[in-house]
Amino acid sequence: MLKYIGKRVLLMIPVVLGISFILFTIMEFSPGDPARIILGDYATQEQVDELREEMGLNDAFLVRYGRYVLNAAQGDFGKSYRSNSPVVGEIAARFPVTLKISLMAIMIAVLIGIPVGIISAVKQYSFADILSTMAALLFTSIPAFWLGLLLIMFLSVQHHILPSVGSDTWKHLIMPSLSLAAAQMATIIRMTRSTMLEVIRQDYIRTAKAKGASSRRVVFHHAIKNALLPVITTVGLSVSNLLGGALIIENVFGISGLGTVMVNSVKSKDTPLLLGSVMFAAVVAGFVNLGVDVLYTYVDPRIKAQFVKKTKRQGAGT
């Protein structure tokens, strides 16, 4: 198992390298001179040229990329062009808010999505099922930012229940988390419903009933564990999606999290900050998915068996 985890972590390196190279190239071709941005409009051309030389911006493209990678490998992700503070510190300051709304969102999505999906499947074609299927369809189709705006309009502007901007208290985080959660919740509902429907048609469910198990026991003891296996993967993917969604939602709600950092660093051509934050997000997503896969092996004995050393036991005759 440890060997597998090690392999997966090593595999993240080429992914991160690829991401950094692509971003580095895009930033290279986008207009604007970082030295000019740092010094501002009033600096003279000589000052700009001097800074360019100092920052090594006149070197060849690959030389600069190589230098960035070598430094990054040693933990030095450079300084933000705009604030002149280390990228690492900048990310450390901004990430906690993003983490908070993402965690809240995923909790909302899972805690509502899974039970609703299960009820939907167990009571197939009932009113509750039709309602939840329709809600799921609605939430997948609504863009998160629009839902965010609707929430602001309704809960902040009209009824003054929740604050619309900022991230000072947990109350500030409710609406961003809700808007972020909606689409993931819809995906989890649909996934849970369909795997659950699949599972309750299996032969082993009939076996359980033939033993005299009640329908409640059949659902909770026999069906759920089987049905949730594929859902775990969906939840893992949801986390990656959330990180992307946070980028937009943070801007809607004026929260200065990792997403806002990314958007602003693109605007100000702040290559080190952009690369740092995107690579960080990629690594986080990578670890979440790894975590999900590890969790999977603990829930599903068939997959666990591939990792646990086989203990040879005596079989039963033939």
Binding site: R206, T207, K225, L229, T318
Partner: protein, 327 residues
Amino acid sequence: MGEHLLEIKDLYVEYVTDDAHVYAVNGIDLFLDRGETLGLVGETGAGKTTTALSILKLLPEKVGRIAKGSILLAGTDVTAASEAEMRLLRGETVSMIFQDPMTSLNPVLTVGDQIAEVLQLHKKYKDKAGVEARVDEILKMVGLPPERKQDFPHQFSGGMKQRIVIAIALACEPLLLLADEPTTALDVTIQAQVLALMNELKQDLDTAMILITHDLGVVAQTCDRVAVVYAGEIIETGTVEQIFSGDRHHPYTVGLFQSIPDLKKKTRRLHPIDGLMPDPTDLPSGCKFHTRCPKCAQVCMERRPKPWEEDGHIIRCHLFAKGGPEA
């Protein structure tokens, strides 16, 4: 109430789906006494599994339903029983060995837990130790080492899974065991072992059994009585002697026996009964076998034959119906 352990009277079962109305069982009568074994034989799709599921009242929800008839099991009318009443019967009074052992076990629970469950559900033992001891005992009985109870189904071979399925079915020592082709998924040597095992257990526990099979050889070895099912009807039933060596038979039974390849007689044809079983969504009128019957007469196409009976040997065929055709 009834003197028999199981008595099925005039049972009709239908499957209603969006695109078809399947008449799976069409007027089955049968009975079974304690400790007796009845072989249920017939082609694929004849309605054997459907009959067994009806006894458990486990027909697929919303799709399958008992349209008519009664099933009396140990004094309870299954067709009228509530779900709560059925739960008490299932696993304790009647249990079933399902057709496919590969998919009949829950992949995420250990086999020990799956055997223990039926004991716990019917509160057979006061404490956990009692249950565990019984699990060990029943595993030994079916020839598996008790240490393997912590293993999951995927760690067992097909034959071993079948033994586990049998262990679950027998754990509570039911009065009636429904064995749905318990050996078809197994290879020949294991088939013999499993059958021997079931026979042994049956004798030890005095369990009655309905054995569903395609294999007439198995029937001859294990059964007391036989019922031949065709298109959801029992067209002939009697003791093993009456069916295997009597001289009066339903033409379908005759065909069924001829379809066993006989090494001595050098029969060339493997399927002496021409044609296929009628489509259960569109059954023929009269005797359902008339479309394939070599002795088909005018009356066979028009009316369902009345049963002919002699010493419990029953044949539903116009060739024997003395009292005239059924209205």
